[in-house]
Symmetry: C2
Subunit: 347 residues, 2 copies
């Protein structure tokens, strides 16, 4: 069945909300007077204004925003297109929604399921609904294909996953700075013999973090031999296994940088079982600061936080600026922050 056929079968909803006509009639005035009374416009006898307002509240009148939007050419809605629903979108979502809600803008949430076809369908729906702007949130910092807005000029901002167009606005976490934060923290605490356990090597974030780690250690004059680096998946079992492998190879390791907090949990478990004390013998740092996981670790895990709520806020804020006619472009990197707990030692 085509979209058209579906639309044809649509039943008209029987419920009839009162319109401005009903209010006008109830108050014994014309529609325009009614409109003015309700919107505090023009010059009206105060008595009339009151009468109209009473009629409105009595009828439970609510102006139809579809009509208003049609007239104004602005819908006060924004589309949020996410690649999929996964934990990291939550703070992003929260930051976006809060910021937009404060400006009385409603958010359409669309899940593309990492599928170009669904992405396109959602995009069409959003444009058809005349959204004032669109936020496209990716899952990773890797480059993604641009969305096709056709001839539409609807303001658009990419979050997390950038595209290859210098005219597009892309907001992303600064993975390099985040990694630097973590490594420099360990250095400052006197660690020297570093190891790195992280995720799939084909991801940009994973590469950036490893490269940054090398650079920071190079700056500090410390070594990072290849056999102290392990790439796998970002989960707990891999962290557990990798830590054991690394410490079998080289028991002198005194610092482990982990690609994620759950992975770090696996590392901590392995160390504890080996009788290695954290942070006395080895310092461990996580990544992404997943609160419940990091705080419940033993010892509580020091980690770096991408400030995703803030990123969402910024995305919404910049989109609002674009909607108001101020052009924005370029790739912008937003800072991580270090969250010190106990797994790296006292400062």
């Amino acid at each position: 069945m085509t979209d058209q056929e579906t639309a044809n079968k649509v039943v008209r909803l029987g419920r009839v909300a009162p319109t401005i006509h009903d209010v006008a009639r109830a108050a014994g005035v014309s529609i325009s007077t009614c409109s003015k009374a309700l919107n505090n416009k023009g010059k009206l006898k105060i008595e009339t204004r009151e009468r109209v307002r009473n009629a409105a509240t009595q009828l439970g009148f609510r102006p139809n925003e579809l009509a208003q939007s049609l007239l104004r050419g602005r819908s006060f809605t924004v589309g949020l297109l996410i690649s999929d629903i996964y934990p990291r979108v939550m703070p992003l979502l929260a930051g976006i929604e809060d910021t937009l809600a404060a400006e009385h803008i409603s958010v359409f949430l669309c899940n593309a399921h990492d599928d170009r076809t669904r992405e396109r369908q959602h995009l069409n729906a959003l444009l058809a609904k005349q959204v004032d702007g669109i936020i496209v949130a990716g899952r990773r910092v890797d480059l993604r294909a641009p969305v096709d807005l056709g001839h539409s000029q609807t303001p658009l901002v990419y979050v997390y996953s950038p595209i290859d167009d210098p005219d597009a606005l892309c907001l992303m976490p600064n993975e390099s700075q985040g990694a630097r934060l973590a490594i420099e923290h360990l250095c400052a605490l006197g660690r020297r013999r570093f190891a790195h356990i992280s995720g799939p090597r084909d991801r940009a974030a994973i590469q950036i973090r490893e490269a940054t780690m090398r650079q920071v250690l190079d700056e500090q004059g410390y070594d990072l031999p290849a056999q102290r680096i392990l790439h796998g998946s970002l989960d707990e079992p891999f962290g557990y296994a990798a830590a054991n492998i690394l410490l079998d190879r080289d028991p002198d390791i005194d610092a482990i940088s982990c690609g994620s907090d759950v992975l770090a949990r696996g590392v901590l478990d392995a160390l504890r079982e080996r009788g290695v004390c954290v942070p006395d013998d080895v310092g461990v740092v996580g990544y992404h600061n997943m609160e419940p996981i990091a705080t419940a670790a033993r010892p509580p895990l020091t980690s770096v936080d991408a400030n995703l709520y803030e990123l969402g806020h910024r995305a919404a804020h910049d989109l609002l600026a674009m909607i108001n006619g101020q052009p924005r472009a370029g790739v912008h990197l937003l800072p991580f922050r270090l969250v010190v707990r106990q797994s790296c030692g006292a400062r």
Copy 2:
């Protein structure tokens, strides 16, 4: 057409999206013919239809859904009002969004932040935007206050948190059945001396689960002395502490029912450190089946799953039915499912 009007047209073409007028003019037909051509209605010369369609695609024409909705009296949007953004809403959200997207309905996501005022503001915005229906998703199974729709007849379904109105439709996880699933599983594996570690006693879910546990054990003829029950917070540290307390009191315990998966992780950690073998000595069952946490536990944690995606699907499905004129009411309890891993022993 005057020069002024021409100028206006030119500007409009450059800035705003083309309307059906523009397509009609470009194709050299009237608006109504244009509409028919684009919507496959009426009888048109095939050549005309083609011409119109070409003009439409060339101009990048997209029908304005605001206008369509105004006319139809249906917006093809639904509002989802959540109490706050937290992990459990995600599968709910996914189930709702997927189901609605399949019917070409877009979802407004509104976060009430557990605040009545914000809830009310969002509700007003949703009604003003003429949503076809509303889903109100709560955080806990405790009774909540009904939302006030005023005179509006907009279909509404409550998810997770029910209200006190028999005419309302409330969809919720069947906590009692979920708890039964967990306990009966342990019983079937030959466990006899049960303990229970769970969350705050003032929550309905916590009470229901404990009561159900009592009942199941009573049915089976087993005992559940008060000193084998501990209530606190549903987090990992409490699980760790509580397990130690319980096993100090009574080393014979051979089954622990936990109020959450993270709490169970704490329990598992404590048991491992005490040299208690899971599942050989003690069986442990979690609650809510948080995948990454349950699977990464050692041993992997058996848990019960509330099927929240399914719950979201059902909510959307029922809302669609209500939108199509079929009334729904009452509190409906949806089943959990048992996810067997290794923490309770082989079946």
